[in-house]
């Protein structure tokens, strides 16, 4: 019989303890980042989709060695390059990234020996077309330079 009452009262007490916890929380400061009004700064390591790195002349560092293409587990990179007449090195003519199949594993960036690609810090992509995420990175680079 005593146990019966003890259970009731200890049970009630535990409920009040729980309510006290939420009460204290209610007066703690808010933690929300109001996204469209304020944004987060991504850390250096953050892995967005890849971007080409340019050299001083504003041209891509890429020498078309294809190691990123080979390293990619999902096969989402395709690039072409050609040797200009008289030139020694290959020049990148198109660098196409199908971001919709990327797994952001960083294998391409690590495979690159020429410091030609890096992860961008874009984190809030959304669109009505999925073709928007088939990036032409060379065009993006040119756009950035203008």
């Amino acid at each position: 019989m005593i146990n019966y009452f003890r259970e009731i009262f200890s049970g009630l007490w535990s409920l009040f303890v729980g309510m006290k916890v939420t009460f204290i929380e209610a007066f703690s400061p808010k933690v929300t980042v109001h996204y469209p009004y304020e944004t987060l700064k991504m850390c250096d390591a953050y892995r967005g989709h890849i971007e080409l790195i340019e050299n001083e002349e504003g041209e891509p560092n890429c020498v078309c060695c294809m190691s990123c293409v080979r390293a990619c587990p999902s096969g989402c990179i395709s690039l072409t390059g050609e040797k200009p007449e008289g030139g020694k090195k290959k020049v990148l003519t198109s660098y196409h990234l199908d971001f919709t199949r990327c797994s952001l594993c960083s294998a391409c960036v690590e495979a690159c020996n020429f410091n030609a690609i890096e992860h961008s810090k874009e984190y809030n992509l959304a669109s009505r077309n999925k073709e928007d995420f088939h990036f032409d990175l060379l065009a993006r680079l040119r756009e950035r330079n203008q």
């Binding site: 929380e25 209610a26 933690v31």
Partner: protein
């Protein structure tokens, strides 16, 4: 003629008040949850998110109405109405002040309880007619819950009628209106010196939460196991009505608790008119209910029934007997 029109107007105002409360308590709930969870809650639609309920309402009304194949059409359509209407009807009898009341009814208490128990019918209609196993199970739960909790609730209300000697809600308030210590919950100076009243309040509070299907007793719409409970097949405004009916019921429960135990519109200091005091008490109770909702996990169905049959009903019976005895002594 004028009297009839006045009554009609009063009834319309009561209904509008119920609908307003139901709509904005949803917002209050969402913002309140936000406060407890350290986030703002809906706040960009209008100042403080005040436009959120009308926007939700517009959306719900403009949504396609699906009546599932195999559903009992008549019952399916009538169920939300059966939940919402009795809830709104009860508002007619509720006094907010000695003058602010749609209709002063001598058996106001009985009427409110009668309408409150009608809401269960809507639930079981919804559960049965939806042609869905989840909703049927939820309806069965709701019914057993309603049956179990109506008993202690009414037994507790009986102690109040016993002390007040009337079922007129106005009279119940009037009887405790002298000052702070005449409220039924602080039984120091009232008509009776009934020290059991805090327990009665607790029982009544728990029962009203269970009656209105509020967490932690929301077995009827237990998301974890029954998906959305009895309104699983309801979309658009049918669902909206269930939602609003639930909140209207909360208001009724809180109003009754205020009237029975917290002295209604009687004010300890008399700073401002009684109706404000009433609203303060009412919303304090409602916010406590919201606070509880966002703190506890859900009970089990047998835990719920055990609580009622093994603890609350004996307790309220003893409470009633002792109250009667105390009445005799003093």
């Amino acid at each position: 003629m004028i009297l009839t029109l006045t009554i009609l107007l009063a009834v319309i105002i009561a209904i509008a008040w119920a609908a307003f409360n139901a709509a904005y308590l949803v917002l209050a709930e969402r913002r309140g949850a936000g406060v407890i969870q350290r986030r703002p809650g809906p706040n960009i639609n209008g100042p403080f998110g005040l436009l959120q309920p009308p926007l939700d309402g517009i959306k719900l009304m403009a949504k396609q109405l699906i009546i599932p194949a195999g559903a009992d059409r008549f019952m399916y359509i009538s169920a939300p109405v059966l939940v919402m209407c009795p809830a709104i009807m009860s508002f007619v009898a509720l006094p907010y002040s000695d003058w602010l009341q749609a209709q002063n009814i001598d058996v106001g208490l009985l009427m409110v309880f009668a309408f409150a128990s009608m809401g269960t019918m809507g639930t079981i209609f919804a559960g049965w007619s939806s042609h869905n196993k989840y909703s049927l199970m939820a309806a069965m739960r709701s019914v057993s819950q309603a049956v179990a909790y109506e008993i202690p609730m009414i037994l507790t209300a009986l102690t109040i009628t016993l002390m007040a000697g009337t079922t007129n809600l106005n009279a119940i308030v009037a009887q405790q209106s002298e000052n702070f210590f005449h409220w039924n919950i602080f039984p120091l100076f009232g008509e009776t010196h009934n020290i059991l009243m805090p327990f009665s309040f607790l029982i009544f509070f728990i029962c009203s939460m269970a009656e209105t299907n509020r967490a932690p007793f929301d077995l009827g719409e237990a998301e974890g196991e029954l998906v959305a409970g009895f309104h699983i097949e309801y979309g658009s405004m049918g669902f909206g009505l269930f939602f609003m009916g639930e909140y209207a019921n909360i208001v009724i429960g809180a109003t009754l608790a205020t009237i029975f135990f917290l002295g209604g519109w009687s004010c300890p200091f008399g700073l401002f008119p009684g109706v404000w005091w009433f609203l303060i008490k009412l919303y304090a109770i409602i916010f406590t209910i919201i606070w509880i909702r966002w703190t506890f996990p859900r009970t089990t169905i047998y835990g719920l029934l055990n609580l009622s049959w093994k603890i609350l009903i004996p307790a309220s019976l003893v409470n009633l007997l002792l109250t009667a005895g105390l009445m005799k002594v003093f």
